[in-house]
């Protein structure tokens, strides 16, 4: 953890409407540096829209995004990335003609490092992520799981204050998923950043997050520690349906 003052990324009363459809309705959220916040909810809950809003890809119809007390709602994704809000995507979007190491080097150069320093920083991040074995591989030759891991490594190579990870484990098998969650849990202590982790599987992120925010149908359903959220009746209902919730509450 750095000695700098704690940074905070907040959403205040965020509404997003696409035509008549309300993707988000009055969502408040707070992400602190040095913590992992889980963002969960069923498909269509508005999780990705929320990440798009926080990273400047989607302007809120109403409400605001505030970074360290400053309203950044009007900033585009490039400006926000430069201000320290990085993200991964559901599709990895790597530079496929370049090697893994070069992908991270691009990010390092973008933070103002020279070519050599950026390459060194890239190697460190890859080493920490256990990706050194693929450093020299071209990204179009990566396995699916490595592709996903490299996209997270690249987001970290930007040394963001906040990193938003959109379903980083989607499509991975259980073992891969567990290993990745273990890595993500340690991002704050290694890089000092705040992590927003989107997942639709609640079980997967229980051990990773300090706090969990649940969205359903574009509204905040609950926020609290994993234990609190797990036992929240509204959350159960949203996830499992009323009847199943009663029968199977031990499953989540």
């Amino acid at each position: 953890m750095t000695g700098k003052t704690q940074q905070v990324l907040e959403a205040h009363n965020v509404h997003v409407a696409f035509g008549g459809i309300h993707a988000l309705s009055g969502v408040d959220m707070r992400l602190d540096q040095g913590t992992v916040l889980g963002l969960i909810g069923p498909n269509g809950a508005g999780k990705t829209t929320m990440v798009n809003v926080l990273s400047g890809f989607q302007k809120p119809t109403r409400g605001s995004v505030v970074l360290n007390g400053q309203d950044v709602s009007a900033l585009g994704p490039q400006r926000l990335a430069r201000a320290g809000v990085g993200r991964s995507f559901q599709a990895a979007r790597l530079f496929r003609d370049m090697t893994v190491e070069q992908n991270l080097t691009v990010a390092g150069i973008g933070t103002g490092r020279g070519g050599r320093a950026a390459a060194r920083a890239a190697a460190e991040v890859l080493d920490w992520m256990g990706l050194t074995r693929v450093a020299e591989k071209r990204c179009d030759a990566l396995s699916y799981g490595d592709e996903r891991r490299v996209s997270i490594a690249r987001a970290l190579a930007l040394h963001p204050a906040f990193v938003l990870l959109d379903e980083p484990a989607s499509g991975m098998n259980d073992a891969e998923c567990d290993a990745l969650m273990h890595t993500i849990a340690h991002i704050p202590e290694r890089f000092g950043c705040g992590v927003l982790l989107i997942e639709h599987n609640m079980k997967v992120i229980m051990g990773v997050c300090q706090r969990i925010h649940v969205l359903d149908g574009g509204r905040s359903l609950a926020e609290g520690t994993p234990g609190e959220v797990q036992n929240d009746p509204d959350v159960r209902r949203a996830y499992l349906g009323k009847k199943a919730a009663a029968e199977a509450h031990h499953l989540i």
Partner: protein, 304 residues
């Protein structure tokens, strides 16, 4: 034997010329999806910068009369400044337009520059004596080759290698490759759009300047449309090579040069005037077999 070697040298030398133009077009297309036909006029204006503006068909030398190093530097300066100006004035405001709009605006810039040349120099072809000594034959391993062709090959080779080193080793080059593949993602990675695009134009200007000088040394003439045919062939080269792929652009340049020289050498004399039609025909055939180009741009088939 020596005839065959001569044909081969012709092909490689013409191919290198097209490869240089194709790389310039491919580089700018990569970073901003602009097919810049004004590249032709960068070449033309670079060549005309050698002489004093006048209506004369054998004008006095201007930059062309300077010592070689200064002449090369002078033409480089003129063409890169011109390329940067067109980027700043004409193309930057259209940055987010679709490729068709960008293409049309490049025609506008091209016509504007062409008529500027006609206004200043008139439209008549001119003769210019620069680098005449280079036309002398050089004897290598018992085979006599024209010096200017050797120069063309050497210049092209140096620039190709230089470009590869730039793109692979320098921070700006690495950023440029990233931007060429996925511009938005590159910007999220801190790549400055304006800077990367400006540098791409500078490189296209440097390549155009080199082609200007090589064409003048080879032909000894200035013509308002002297840049046009190389750019059209180079454009076909980038399409054959696979739009967006720089190795493809270079390869396409050599292929087009090769086809052109082979047709010139082996077509019956009566058919030779139709050589260019033959080149286009073969280009069409290549594209029928591989519509995506020989080297496919990987960004175009990104997994979603």
């Amino acid at each position: 034997m020596s005839n065959l070697v001569q044909i081969l040298v012709d092909a490689i030398s013409l191919g290198s010329l097209y490869a240089l133009v194709a790389l310039a077009i491919g580089l700018v297309f990569g970073v901003m999806k602009l097919i810049n036909f004004a590249q032709a006029d960068y070449i033309t204006i670079g060549a005309y910068a050698l002489v004093v503006p006048s209506a004369s068909v054998s004008p006095a030398l201007f930059i062309g009369g300077w010592p070689v190093v200064f002449m090369v530097a002078g033409v480089l300066a003129v063409v890169t400044v011109l390329a940067l100006l067109t980027e700043r004035i004409a193309f930057r405001p259209m940055r987010n337009s679709n490729p068709a709009t960008l293409l049309i605006s490049s025609f506008a810039v091209s016509y504007f520059l062409q008529h500027l040349v006609i206004l200043v120099h008139t439209g008549r072809p001119k003769s210019v004596g620069v680098g005449n000594s280079l036309s002398a034959a050089v004897e290598i391993a018992g085979i006599r080759l024209p010096g200017n062709q050797i120069l063309t090959m050497v210049v092209a080779a140096v620039m190709l290698v230089g470009l590869v080193i730039f793109l692979k080793k320098t921070p700006m080059g690495i950023q440029m490759r990233a931007a060429a593949e996925n511009f938005q993602m590159a910007r999220l990675m801190g790549v400055r759009a304006n800077r990367v695009i400006a540098v791409a134009f500078v490189i296209s200007g440097v390549m155009a300047a080199a082609v200007s000088l090589l064409l003048v040394v080879q032909t000894g003439t200035l013509d308002v449309r002297m840049g046009l045919m190389p750019v059209i062939f180079a454009f076909f080269a980038t399409v054959i090579g696979g739009m967006g792929s720089l190795p493809g652009a270079a390869l396409g340049g050599f292929i087009v040069g090769f086809i052109s020289v082979m047709l010139q050498a082996f077509l019956p004399a009566d058919l030779r005037p139709f050589r260019d039609a033959g080149v286009f025909l073969l280009v069409i055939l290549i594209l029928l077999v591989r519509p995506q180009g020989l080297i496919v741009d990987r960004a175009a088939r990104e997994r979603v």
